[in-house]
């Protein structure tokens, strides 16, 4: 139990939960503010999950990487529960925010985007380090927001309706790959910042 508490504290998990909650509140206020704007929903469906995903990606970082690698206790399950829990919490909270919107299967799209963009952030965290893991989902998310809405390109899956199977496949693959890599590999610093 103590190990779990220490693990979560080293990842600033309470702060991550708070940040995801803040993202949820901001998404709710944003959508209420622009109640009738379809464009606002489009923005919220990408920006909310993007922010949540970036927070989860940043949560991978540990200041005790060396010490953890020297322990005999397997951390994979703890990491999976921590990161998976944050993603599930974020997906459910954000899906509830858009539950009353039926357009584009909004709740499904929200949950899918948290999963897919979160997976991408975790994948990036394994490659370039947790502190710069936001770059990959940010690039995809922002490019998607700029993509034409009428004819969504194949790569802009976060902009697709929540009922599109292909977008779900991409999101789930990203989630599984990202989560398994983040859970199994050692924590590393960011590129260009070796001590991070």
């Amino acid at each position: 139990m103590m190990l779990t508490v220490l693990y979560l504290r080293s990842r600033q998990a309470p702060m991550a939960v708070l940040a995801v909650a803040l993202v949820t509140v901001c998404s709710y206020v944003f959508l209420r503010w622009y109640d009738d704007e379809a464009e606002a929903l489009h923005v919220a469906l990408i920006l909310g999950p993007l922010a949540a995903a970036c927070v989860v990606g940043a949560g991978v970082h540990s200041p005790f990487g060396e010490v953890e690698r020297a322990t005999s206790f397997p951390l994979a399950r703890l990491r999976s529960a921590h990161l998976g829990g944050l993603l599930v919490g974020g997906a459910v909270a954000l899906a509830i925010v858009v539950a009353r919107w039926q357009e584009q299967d909004a709740p499904l799209a929200m949950a899918r985007n948290v999963a897919g963009l979160g997976g991408l952030a975790l994948l990036a965290a394994s490659i370039v380090g947790a502190r710069l893991s936001w770059v990959a989902p940010m690039v995809l998310g922002m490019a998607t927001l700029f993509a034409p809405v009428a004819a969504t390109p194949w790569w802009a899956w976060p902009a697709m309706s929540g009922g599109r199977d292909a977008a779900w496949v991409v999101a789930i693959v990203l989630l599984l790959v990202g989560l398994s890599l983040a859970a199994s590999t050692r924590t590393r610093g960011a590129v260009g910042d070796p001590s991070a």
Partner: protein, 447 residues
């Protein structure tokens, strides 16, 4: 070489911006590669395209600056650096500048690429420095704001939130396009509907630049103040705040989004209802007329029908001119464009919502039938595409699932109308065209 310059050089070389440079370039290119109509490259589009590069690149530059701002703290170097003789202002500004320079370099590299493209292909106007300068200043300001956020809020979660927050702040200011706050946002200026019909809104750009510079100075001064309060830093903070407040107030007082109109003489195609474009779009006149001309041809001489079809400047009111955009295969297929022309001439009031959203969107059945008739007589393939693509032809109170039930009636009515004697059809349209456009007729009124 002075110590400050040497520090800047070292910081620039050993900066995460070096790693993110390709990302910054990609984002600037993606946001700026404007979709021109085929065959038409205008300098005004090139200039604004360069400026637009900042919309995405500045977000990443802000995140990068926030990341770099926390570097000394992450490495536990803050106290050690505080004992060095170099002033905190030089250290902070040097680190910020060496980070911002990567974003600026990315922005300028993409800008140079677009400029070369403009030199090779542009057919109208000349490069305009104002949108480019607005974009450049925004890169600086967003980077400084990101740096301040990263330096002042010591949390790992601040860095990824900075780009999202910067984007959200702009979207909140812009959504709806009718709030004074839109004038505060560089994206607002860069997306303000620039065209060859109007001058660039120079005063908007000229107040935006000091506003953004003021924000950057305030952000950097606040970062330095955290470590040391010197008269010079307090002066910089005061000057920055004054600059931001004065220019922000001037921006919030603005009302006009577009610049003044630029007079021009249209070039027209010889179609029954002339199809005209701005001379800058001469290269696509034939393609535009090949779609709009046949669709509108049966309406020539009809009382209340447009006398001309073509481009008119946004916001100008010319009731006898049907507004159409120059043809471009990058926007839509020929059939969709033809549908737009037919729908615009038959049902000009189908968008009761001033924001052109689908709320309240609607056509009457007569309008739907006549749109089909106009398309079929111009090119049957366009009518077929309209039906297959399920482009709007029905009143908005008809559920989408009932499309297949209602549309055959429209098709039958349009075929019945097409089978009429041309003189009889012309006479009926002459008598009822205003009622058709106003949506006052039912399908039973159609002969």
């Amino acid at each position: 070489m002075t110590a400050g310059l040497r520090l800047f050089t070292i910081e620039t070389r050993r900066n995460a911006g070096l790693w993110l440079f390709p990302v910054l370039v990609g984002l600037a290119w993606y946001a700026g590669h404007e979709r021109y109509p085929d065959g038409v490259t205008l300098w005004i589009d090139v200039s604004f395209g360069i400026g637009m590069g900042m919309v995405l690149a500045a977000l990443a530059a802000g995140g990068l600056a926030a990341f770099m701002a926390g570097r000394n703290r992450r490495r536990g170097m803050s106290e050690l650096l505080a004992t060095t003789p170099q002033s905190p202002a030089v250290r902070e500004v040097s680190l910020w500048a060496s980070t911002a320079i990567w974003g600026i370099l990315a922005y300028l590299s993409v800008g140079a690429y677009f400029l070369v493209d403009g030199v090779r292909h542009a057919t109208w106007g000349g490069p305009d420095p104002l949108p480019i300068l607005v974009g450049l200043t925004a890169m600086v300001a967003f980077s400084a704001i990101g740096y301040a956020a990263g330096a002042l809020v010591p949390s790992r979660f601040v860095v990824p939130v900075v780009p999202v927050a910067l984007y959200l702040a702009q979207v909140v200011a812009l959504l709806g396009w009718d709030r004074p706050s839109m004038f505060l946002v560089p994206w607002g200026f860069l997306e303000s509907g620039h065209s060859v019909f109007t001058e660039i809104h120079a005063s908007w750009a000229l107040w935006l630049i000091p506003w953004l510079v003021g924000l950057a100075v305030v952000a950097l001064a606040a970062t330095v103040l955290r470590q040391k309060r010197t008269p010079r830093v307090i002066t910089a903070l005061t000057v920055g705040m004054t600059l931001a407040i004065v220019s922000g107030a001037m921006l919030l007082r603005m009302e006009q989004r577009e610049g003044d109109p630029v007079p021009y003489d249209s070039v027209c195609a010889e179609t029954p209802i002339p199809v005209c474009v701005h001379p800058a779009y001469r290269a696509v006149l034939d393609e535009t007329a090949a779609i709009a001309g046949p669709v509108l041809a049966p309406l020539a001489g009809i009382d209340g029908a447009p006398q001309r079809a073509g481009q008119i400047a946004f916001g100008t009111d010319q009731p006898d001119v049907l507004t159409i955009a120059p043809w471009s295969s990058r926007y839509d297929t020929e059939g969709v464009v033809a549908y737009g022309v037919a729908a615009d001439v038959i049902a000009p009031n189908r968008y009761p919502n001033p924001n052109f959203t689908s709320a309240g969107f609607g056509l009457t059945e007569v309008q739907g039938a006549l749109i089909l008739w106009l398309l079929r007589q111009a090119d049957p393939a366009w009518a077929t595409e309209t039906l297959e693509s399920r482009l709007p032809l029905l009143p908005n109170d008809v559920p989408f699932e009932e499309w297949d039930t209602h549309v055959p009636r429209l098709v039958a009515a349009s075929e019945r109308f097409a089978a009429l004697d041309p003189a009889e059809r012309h006479a009926w349209l002459d008598a009822h065209f205003a009622d058709v456009r106003a949506g006052r007729l039912t399908l039973d009124d159609l002969p």
